[in-house]
């Protein structure tokens, strides 16, 4: 569960950084190579961080099963 909370926290940080970087490129229109690099790096990060912040987390009584359950699928 600690791991999940950490991921959500990273999600918020990444979302802020990538939004600011993309906004910088939109407003200040820097050189083409900077725009391309920002697009390639930060658009995927923006989508990932959006997902990390919106994903549902397990309920309190289920979290043990979700995180501690050994991998028995196969």
């Amino acid at each position: 569960m600690v791991k999940m909370k950490k991921l959500v926290k990273y999600g918020y940080i990444l979302f802020t950084i990538s939004t600011l970087t993309i906004l910088y490129c939109l407003i200040f229109n820097p050189a083409a190579w900077i725009v391309y690099s920002v697009a390639i790096l930060f658009i995927p990060l923006l989508i990932l961080s959006f997902g990390l912040t919106t994903m549902a987390t397990p309920k309190k009584d289920e979290e043990e099963d979700r995180v501690q359950e050994p991998f028995i699928g196969y």
Binding site: K3, C25, L26, I43, L48, G51, M55, A56, F71
Partner: protein
């Protein structure tokens, strides 16, 4: 930047509708009602809000970052293609990296199905890259690898599809091999559940579906632009729907080949395409 964001959004929205249409065609051929055309799009969004768990066997930073890399390479393809109309050689490089990402996505989860798919990704790379290598015939004909030059050439000499029909067939086979439930789709064959995607669920699955929608749009766009030149928006839509319809029709009526047969078939098609195109060029 706005141009890139708009193109990525169009690629995602239209790509997911095309994949939904592809699924619908397959369903109708198999006498099923099938899901609504918008289903692929809804699924992609839905997964972002689903509960996500991470397998204990996953190699953790890699397991998440590989999905991010998959998205990054298709955004690179959007920049090379519709945004800047750059070089086909770069598109070839993007495709080669895509095969490596497919391989690594399978191995990152630690699932046996993923690992099996990861091995098959190497097989399929060995057969799909020769298919894509046929772009050198386009270079021989046009004298340039740049998509903008190819469009300019077609404005003067007419569509390339009439001059290089075998190249078009080979590139169509490449698109076919990337379509869902393709006879050549050995990395995601149902015998390995969902292949490299098996252990990517929740938001990561939604993220993969986003990248798949973008990639389908890019493949269709690339095929139409290389062989028909710069089309109007309406013709692009008709062309993309036609490609999705044809691949859906073929996939609905053919079983998934086993890895050996798939590789041999694709290499044979690439060989026939390259040799045949060279012969045609020298004869005419």
């Amino acid at each position: 930047m706005l141009d890139i964001i708009i193109n990525v959004l169009i690629a995602f929205l239209f790509g997911s509708i095309l994949l939904g249409f592809h699924r619908k065609v397959m369903a109708r051929v198999q006498l099923r009602p099938g899901p609504p055309i918008i289903q692929q799009f809804l699924h992609s969004l839905k997964f972002f809000f689903k509960e996500t768990t991470f397998p204990k066997t996953a190699s953790m930073p890699f397991y998440i970052s590989i999905v991010c890399i998959l998205c990054a390479i298709w955004i690179t393809a959007v920049i090379i293609g519709p945004v800047s109309k750059g070089s086909l050689l770069l598109m070839f490089a993007v495709y080669a990296v895509y095969k490596i990402v497919e391989h690594n996505a399978g191995s990152s989860s630690g699932s046996p199905y993923g690992k099996m798919s990861c091995v098959r990704a190497v097989f399929s790379a060995s057969s799909e890259l020769p298919l894509f290598a046929i772009i050198f015939i386009i270079y021989l004909q046009v004298g340039s690898m740049n998509i903008s030059d190819i469009i300019a050439y077609q404005n003067i000499h007419g569509s390339l599809i009439w001059q290089l029909p075998l190249v078009a067939i080979v590139l169509f086979i490449l698109i076919l091999s990337k379509s869902p439930y393709s006879p050549f789709g050995i990395t995601k064959g149902k015998d390995v559940i969902s292949g490299y995607e098996t252990e990517h669920f929740g938001l990561l699955r939604g993220y993969i579906m986003f990248s798949e929608s973008v990639s389908w749009y890019i493949f269709s766009w690339l095929f139409l632009t290389i062989f028909f030149g710069d089309l109007s928006i309406l013709l692009y839509i008709v062309g993309m729907l036609a490609i999705s319809f044809l691949t859906g029709l073929i996939n609905a009526t053919t079983p998934i080949l086993n890895p050996n047969h798939s590789v041999v078939s694709q290499i044979s098609i690439a060989l026939v395409g390259i040799v045949g195109s060279l012969l045609l060029m020298f004869i005419f």
